[in-house]
């Protein structure tokens, strides 16, 4: 799965997610990626999210919307991501990762899997990582 989130100079946010699914999946199986509020969500009032990981788990907790609901309640995008991924792990034993950006330009790349390749471009600087705590 791949994804992107962005906020532009006008403060508008957007997200996109795309996937080939899981190797050897059943014909017709659809995971979280194309489902609104699960594989991705964006709202100028709170931010934009793209998710990756175990699709069925992400669907069960509506992960993208869950993260933004924490942001709406005052959490930072990083804390909202961590809390939501932890909830998914506790409730349905699922692992995954998320990228989030807020309308003010706060951003986070968070995951509970072994690795997630990510990169962020802001203010002319490029951040990137693949291992935890990078």
């Amino acid at each position: 799965t791949v994804g992107a989130v962005a906020v532009d100079c006008a403060g508008n946010v957007a997200c996109a997610t795309s996937t080939g699914g899981i190797r050897n999946k059943m014909v017709g199986r659809v995971g979280d990626s194309p489902v609104i509020g699960c594989g991705g969500y964006a709202d100028n009032s709170s931010g934009a999210v793209s998710c990756t990981g175990h699709g069925e788990s992400i669907l069960k907790v509506t992960l993208a919307r869950l993260i933004l609901s924490h942001v709406e309640q005052g959490k930072s995008v990083a804390d909202a991501s961590r809390l939501s991924l932890q909830y998914m792990g506790d409730r349905v034993q699922g692992a995954g990762g998320t990228i989030v950006v807020s309308p003010s330009g706060q951003w986070a790349a968070t995951f509970t899997t072994e690795r997630m390749a990510w990169a962020a471009a802001a203010d002319g600087v490029l951040w990137f990582g693949i291992n935890p705590e990078e």
Partner: protein, 169 residues
């Protein structure tokens, strides 16, 4: 005017060491590409589509031209795009022979009154608006063909442990 930000990911899973460098290079390139759209005055929507297209075109990633194969050895692709300004969204699922499903998802958002099209209907819509169909072979790498052959021999074991570190989207 506030500063623009773009973030990308290339999937969360147990990325093997042999493809880790290509994965990092791929996300960096996609972030630069999406960021260049923002710098030139493009919208957040334009930027996320451009970044995801770059990732779909990179065979390192499980999307577009690097997709995994299903149990029948076929490619089925899913994508979504959401505009936070209007809450407009478009999605496709189980679509075949499309190199950039994210752009098809955007077309669903902008050219229909629906949110998601799936399977045959999504492909019929793609054809109706002039999307070029790509042969399945162009969407599958030799690496994926070998991995699919290897894993189909012990499918029952993989499916019993569906939510393992090896079986993520």
């Amino acid at each position: 005017m506030m500063s623009a930000v773009l973030v990308v990911h290339g999937g969360a899973w147990s990325i093997p060491d042999e493809i880790a460098p290509a994965s990092v290079d791929g996300v960096k390139a996609a972030a630069r590409h999406g960021s260049s759209v923002l710098k030139s005055g493009g919208s957040a929507l334009d930027a996320v589509e451009a970044a995801v297209r770059a990732l779909e075109d990179n065979p390192t990633f499980n999307a577009g031209c690097g997709a995994t194969l299903n149990i029948d050895g076929e490619v089925e692709l899913d994508a979504i795009i959401v505009d936070g300004r209007t809450l407009a969204s478009g999605a496709v699922s189980c679509v075949k022979n499309i190199a950039n499903p994210v752009s098809l998802a955007r077309a669903v958002m902008e050219k229909t009154s629906h949110v998601m099209l799936t399977g045959k209907g999504a492909n019929q819509f793609a054809e109706s608006i002039g999307f070029i169909a790509i042969p399945t072979d162009k969407l599958v790498t030799e690496y994926e063909k070998k991995q699919w052959e290897k894993h189909k021999k012990y499918l029952a074991g993989v499916m019993e442990e569906f939510n393992t570190k090896w079986t993520h989207d």
